[in-house]
Every structure is written in structure tokens, then in C-alpha cells.
Amino acid sequence: MQKKRPKYLNLIKIKLPLPGVVSIGHRVSGVLLFFPGIPLLLYGLHLMLGTPQSFDLLKAVFSNAFVKLVLLGGIWLLMHHFCAGLRYLALDLHWGIALKQARASSYAVLAGGAVLTGIIGVLIW
């Protein structure tokens, strides 16, 4: 029995519920943290711990405001991924799985990621 149902998969027009936004944000941030995140992190560590000259080079690179902004973007990805990950660990333990709490914790994750990024931004500037 085939029913003709309207398919409505226009990604621009579908409005994701808040937990859905957190979920896709967790995935997208995870991919970006994998690449270019991990190689950049290792290259940074390599420069930081290599020689005094490479340390100075790293310091000079990060004195640039644009580089700081990009770094802050990366930190936002990490903070969102971190907060969303904590939420999933809680959900695994069956904490907050009711709709109301799940929505509230999704909002908290989005806000928490942004606030932590803001705090770190103030500290590194």
C-alpha cells in the first residue's frame, strides 16, 4: 500500500527543534575539531615546545587580532562540543530525558558554549 505523502525535505525551510540544533552542532564541531583542529593543535604544540625561536614565532602569530579571532572560533567549537558532550553523558544516565528538561538543557548547552567562549576571549585578549 503506497500512500502519496508530501515530502518536505527543504533543509532551508525545516526548522530543527533546539535539541536538534545542539545535535548537528555537536557533529559539525566534531568534524571541524578533527580537521583542521587536531593538526593545528599539534603544530601549535610543536612550535610552543620546539625551540625558543619557534616559541617566539608562535607568540608573534597569535599577537595578530585576526588569528586570535580564528582561535576564538575554534574555542567556540570546542566549548560547544564539550557542553553538548556533557549533556549526552547526562542523557545516557537518563538525566533530563523528559521533553521540557531536554529543551532546557539544549538551551543551556548553546548558552554555556557561548558564555565560556566569551570568558576565554576576554582572558586571551
Binding site: 566534531g30 578533527f34 587536531i38 593538526p39 599539534l42 610543536h46 615546545l49 620546539g50 553523558l89
Partner: protein
Amino acid sequence: MVSRANQNRIVTGAHYGLMDWLAQRVTAAVMAVYMVLLAAVLIVAAPQDYAAWKAIFTQPVFRIATLLFLLSLYWHAWIGMRDIFMDYIHPVAIRLTLQIGVILSLVVYTIWSVQILWG
């Protein structure tokens, strides 16, 4: 609780699902603890120059903790990337190529990590 109907059921499959699920969460917890401790160290006494950073990173405890963090990161990244490939990349040849690319890069990152930390 095992229901009566399921008592004699032989569960088939590769059995790596639960292991990966658990590994993803354990590695996440390891990374979370490391990052919180690192943040605490940086807030209390942020090293200012090369010598100070080097001094922290040559402490055996810190070296091993950092390596543990990085290895957890690589394992965590493998499971996450594999899950995403399984969900979105359906042609087997492309998915396999991507998965091999991720595995090889993580092996290289592991070698590089040891070089950085003990170099």
C-alpha cells in the same frame, strides 16, 4: 533483566558496538578532566615564556597526562568520524577510503605527539 523469550537467544554481530560506545564516553571523560585541570593550572599560574612552558611539559606526570589526553582524543575522533561516515557517506569505496584516511592520519598524529612531548 533478561526476559524468558530472550534467554536462549544467541546474539550475533561483531560485538564492537558497545565497546565503541563505551570508549567514546570514557575518552570524553578523560579529556574533560584533563581540560578542566589544565584550565585551572592556566588560571592559577599561566606560564609566560618558553622556559616556563617547557618546564611544565617536561614534568613526567604532565607528559603522561597530556599523552593520555591526546590518545583519548584520537580514539574519540576515530569513533566520531566513523559514525559520521556511516551515516552520510553511503558508497562503500568512498567511505572506506575516508576511514582509512582518518586511521592513517591518527597514527601519524600519535607518532608526532610522542615526538613533541619527548622531543
